[in-house]
């Protein structure tokens, strides 16, 4: 359920002024950036924070006693605290910095999966998943002789919860589900799904890559066991992401990568591991990335996630209305609870031709299978075009998309 409690509206012009890249022109036209589900743009406060870190605060962390090392360590751990508050984790040590969502899911598949999933066990995924929440589990299943079970969707792109409930048995070991579908925008009822899994004693990993930038995420309210997301989709840098894990589960997990910073003591006979979170952060982490992501969640929090969600919901409704009125356009994904992702196909025109020609109008959309080939197969299409919105987009951006689609159709008329 999305409840929007009369949020303070965003000042669109002021917000846009924070994003220098939005002033670019592409092919001689003002940039209309509608590929936010792939990667978002960075506001000036985050850029400035990265510059300040680079120019005045950088050294390696957790090592030396000199001034810069202590400063960098303090800033890195302060960022962990910001992320903890952003997702309402109980403790900062439940926040593991990773290189992104993919890295976070692989960490669970290796560190938890290899220990607790065996031959004949079952892993529940959904047909909506991004490849990054399929392939690590498939690799685990192949190694262990486990089986993948898949939750189907209806034609709107909503998960079928009765079918989900029917998949559980005494061999079910874990559920891995996306919070928001990257290809269709469906917001999945993860809270109910988690409650059902827990009734069977099964932990749940939520892939939050598409949710963390757009919704208020509260891992305690969700009661999820793992929650993974990426910095670069939420106004932060690339190369940084987060795995939230319930402390008890993280403590039971094997480290995935060995190296410096993750140990307690090392001899050639054996090694004892550092406590969480360091156990999972071998080697020098992306310190600047973490600091930048900390600045990004400060920025998002200052705007307010409810205000961001309301703004994007308005854009989605407006764009959906406008595209529905265009002949020859079919929208894929009409879930009742939906994030601001609009996948569509144009009758008789391949998405890659659409993408190339929209670029000529300055409009950036994603075209292809969106790393969700099983979903494309279910929908009976090879590819779609996808416009995905952020809070810095405007109705004028939607109008440019509509004009662009008309001009593509004209070329092919």
């Amino acid at each position: 359920m999305t409840t929007v409690a009369a949020p303070a509206g965003l000042d669109s012009a002021r917000v846009r002024a924070d994003f220098p890249i939005l002033a670019l022109t592409v092919a001689g036209k003002p940039l209309v950036y509608l590929d936010n589900a792939a990667s978002s743009q960075m506001p000036r406060p985050v850029i400035d924070r990265l510059v300040r870190y680079r120019t005045t605060q950088h050294a390696n962390i957790h090592r030396a006693v000199h001034h810069l090392s202590e400063t960098a360590t303090t800033e890195y751990e302060a960022a962990r605290g910001k992320l903890q508050r952003f997702i309402n984790a109980r403790e900062a040590r439940e926040v593991i910095f990773t290189s992104g969502t993919t890295d976070a899911i692989n960490l669970v598949a290796h560190g938890w999966g290899r220990r607790f999933v065996g031959a004949g066990d079952e892993i529940i995924l959904t047909v909506l998943e991004h490849h990054s929440n399929i392939v690590p589990w498939q690799m685990l299943a192949q190694e262990k002789g486990a089986t993948i079970r898949v939750v189907p969707i209806d034609d709107r792109g909503e998960l079928l919860l009765d079918a989900y409930a029917a998949l559980f048995n005494d061999r079910t070991r874990i559920v891995a589900v996306g919070h928001v579908s990257n290809a269709l925008g469906s917001i999945n009822p993860v809270q109910r799904m988690i409650a059902l899994a827990h009734a069977h004693g099964v932990p749940v990993l939520v892939d939050g890559a598409q949710a963390a930038p757009h919704l208020t995420v509260d891992v305690q309210a969700l009661d999820c066991d793992f929650y993974a997301f990426s910095g670069h989709k939420m106004c932060g840098p690339t190369g940084i992401g987060v795995l939230y894990g319930r402390a008890a589960l993280l403590e039971a997990m094997q480290p995935f990568k060995g190296g410096g910073d993750m140990i307690h003591t090392v001899t050639f006979e054996s090694t004892t591991y550092a406590p969480i979170p360091n156990k999972f952060e071998a080697g020098t982490p992306p310190i600047a990335g973490a600091v930048g992501l900390g600045a990004a969640v400060d920025y998002l929090s200052a705007l307010g996630m409810p205000a961001i969600a309301a703004c994007e919901h308005d854009l989605l409704e407006y764009a959906t209305d406008r595209l529905r009125q265009l002949p020859g356009v079919r929208i894929l994904g009409t879930a009742r609870d939906k994030a601001a992702v609009l996948s569509f196909v144009l009758e008789g025109i391949h998405p890659h031709d659409v993408g190339t020609l929209l670029n000529e109008e300055g409009v950036a959309v994603r075209t292809g299978h969106h790393c969700a080939q099983p979903l494309m197969k279910r929908l009976g299409v090879a590819a779609t075009s996808r416009a995905s919105f952020a809070f810095y987009n405007t109705r004028a951006d939607v109008d440019a998309l509509v004009a662009g689609i008309r001009s593509v159709q004209k070329v092919f008329a």
């Binding site: 025109i349 391949h350 998405p351 890659h352 031709d353 190339t356 020609l357 670029n359 000529e360 075209t367 292809g368 299978h369 494309m376 090879a382 590819a383 070329v411 092919f412």
Partner: protein, 162 residues
């Protein structure tokens, strides 16, 4: 040739996309192959019939973008009636032009196929244009399936039987 990508979607390419020549299947082909681009989903089937040393019949079908379909259509029209060596030479020239290794003005044999020269400005779309030509090569070489993402990526290895 203009670097404006929009110039690529000119009448001749759009016409071949709308009304592809030699579109369909052959009853008894002597050679056939399937071409795949897993990144964008382009998927074409190509079949041809050699009578002696001449490509007597050729046909393709499948699902693809306009660039790929027009390239396949114009390719079939260009190689029909020629011998395999001539067809391979044409394929080499086309791939060299599409990947920017050969200027359209220096492509002696391409004729109207030079309309694809602008594709070299669109690195993400080059594979769409050259997929049919690699599929033709695969058919001659009796390779059942060729993929733009195969181990020896055809983008990086110039076509040729040398």
């Amino acid at each position: 040739m203009s670097a404006d990508p929009k110039a690529l979607y000119q009448e001749v390419i759009l016409d071949h996309n709308r009304k592809p020549r030699n579109y369909g299947r052959l009853e008894q082909p002597s050679h056939r192959a399937e071409g795949l681009n897993p990144l964008c989903g382009d998927h074409i089937h190509l079949a041809l019939e050699l009578a002696g040393d001449t490509i007597a019949a050729i046909a393709f079908h499948g699902e693809s973008c306009a660039i790929c379909k027009a390239s396949a259509s114009m390719m079939t029209a260009a190689v029909k009636g020629r011998n395999p060596d001539e067809a391979r030479a044409l394929a080499r020239e086309f791939v060299d032009m599409a990947t920017g290794r050969l200027a359209a003005a220096d492509a002696a044999h391409l004729g109207r196929l030079a309309v694809f020269s602008g594709i070299s400005e669109l690195p993400m779309r080059v594979k769409c244009a050259i997929l049919p030509w690699h599929t033709l090569q695969a058919a001659f070489d009796a390779v059942a399936t060729t993929s733009t993402e195969a181990e020896a990526d055809p983008m990086d290895t110039p076509l040729g039987n040398a």
